[in-house]
């Protein structure tokens, strides 16, 4: 094996390691008998990947049986995308068929006495979810090319997001204009209502008094 080949292999390996390492997760405490939900806004038709596990503080010893969680991932329309009951770890991946907020709810079965368990959860969508290690393995791309490709994809994602924000702003402006005109109409209508109510009152009372022969 000459130097060139070895160098290439090292470059590819480092790229893979980079990708594997550029993944971090959040941790949160879950009390038994309680539910905690984490929501994320996912773009339509984008890939999303999630991984969850109950953190084991005692290395080497197996997790106690009570440290099991139930997870359910649903979209804002109510469609169920992932469901796992009483597991200590797992993962899910799907393509977002509905736009909007997706909610991953964790539930720990009730125990007496109640205890806390730490859940390590990682949820990536869009650019971050793309499987770069596969792309690295497929071709002989250098690590720098890979990085630059990632950055290019990020920039594209930023661009799309700006368009989305612009559309939202347009919608909000429409909403505000309509609220404004509705308020104007309703104030005018309130004037009409009060005048008509007064007129009806006067007419009714006049006829009443005329009937009573007081006028």
């Amino acid at each position: 094996m000459n130097f060139k080949e070895r160098g290439d292999i090292i470059v590819v390996l480092s790229a893979i390691l980079l990708i594997l390492r550029s993944v971090e997760s959040i941790r949160f405490d879950l009390e038994t008998g309680h539910t905690k939900c984490i929501a994320e806004d996912i773009k339509l038709n984008s890939m999303t990947v999630g991984k969850y596990q109950v953190v084991n503080y005692n290395e080497g010893l197996p997790l106690p049986d009570s440290h099991k969680i139930t997870i359910r991932v649903t979209s804002s329309y109510g469609n169920n995308y992932h469901y796992a009951e009483n597991v200590a770890w797992g993962h899910f991946a799907f393509q977002a068929a509905d736009a909007g907020d997706y909610m991953a709810c964790f539930f720990a079965a009730d125990t007496k006495p109640s205890s806390f368990m730490t859940v390590d959860f990682e949820w990536k969508s869009g650019v971050a979810a793309k499987d770069w290690s596969n792309i690295a393995k497929k071709g002989s791309v250098t690590a720098m090319e890979l990085e630059l490709q990632r950055m290019y994809d990020t920039v594209q994602a930023i661009h799309d997001e700006i368009y989305y924000l612009r559309e939202r702003e347009k919608e909000m402006q429409q909403l505000n204009i309509s609220t404004n005109s509705k308020m104007a109409w309703l104030s005018f209508l309130s004037l009409l209502v009060s005048l008509s109510v007064t007129g009806l009152q006067l007419r009714h009372l006049k006829s009443f008094f005329q009937k009573k022969k007081l006028i």
Binding site: F3, I26, A143
Partner: protein
């Protein structure tokens, strides 16, 4: 980075690249929403001392139909040593940035002092730029990798700002929709109340003049 054959130094350069790329890791989580009833804490691991931890959070109110805007929540960042690194009180959304004094597990806590549940949308990013300290003694820092890391950090800051704007826009939209609902509801309620009151007035006046009450008095 090209590795050319035949040069005994290229093996070392490749190892340096390996080492550096291991260090130019960027850690982040996407914007997530958590409902805060009392205290909610999120843990995030910071790999290196001196890393810049940046992020933002926005409180998206739950249904605020009757009452006015929520007074805000408190935000605290605790270092692994136990002391409070950063704190914000009574705010409905803000950006934050600080340099991590040491590596370890940092705790980001949201505290809701009032009883109404709130949804907090947050984004935390831990960024690292490779420096001379990260490398072993006989490796050299390639300025291109530093520049790449800086570029990546800049892109991440743009993404973070976007997420902040998106969360604020969603909160604004929430407020506007609630305003619209309130305007319509209160106005229609006002009409009905007016009609009811005038009806009651008429009924009362009729009663005053009715035979059973006091016919001759008037």
């Amino acid at each position: 980075m090209e590795t050319t054959g035949g040069n005994p130094r290229c093996g070392g350069a490749a190892y340096a690249l390996l080492g550096l790329l291991l260090l130019t890791t960027l850690t982040h989580i996407s914007a997530l929403s958590v409902t805060v009833n009392d205290v909610e804490c999120i843990y995030e691991y910071v790999l290196y001392e001196g890393d810049t931890v940046s992020g933002n959070f926005v409180v998206v109110d739950h249904d605020i139909f009757w009452s006015s805007d929520h007074p805000g929540i408190d935000f605290t960042v605790t270092s692994p040593a136990g002391n409070i690194v950063h704190t914000l009180k009574g705010t409905s959304g803000d950006k934050f940035e600080f340099k991590a004094p040491r590596s370890g597990m940092y705790k980001f806590c949201f505290h809701n002092p009032y009883s109404t549940p709130e949804t907090v949308s947050f984004y935390i990013h831990v960024g690292h730029i490779p420096t001379e300290h990260d490398l072993a003694k006989d490796e050299h820092l390639d300025p291109i990798n530093v520049k790449l890391a800086e570029l990546k950090e800049a892109l991440e800051s743009v993404t973070a700002e976007q997420k902040y704007l998106k969360a604020r826009d969603s909160r604004h939209r929430h407020t506007n929709e609630s305003t619209r609902r309130r305007v319509i509801f209160y106005t229609v309620g006002e009409y009905l109340l007016l009609a009811l009151v005038s009806g009651l007035q008429v009924v009362y006046i009729r009663r005053l003049f009715s035979k059973s009450v006091a016919y001759n008095r008037v």
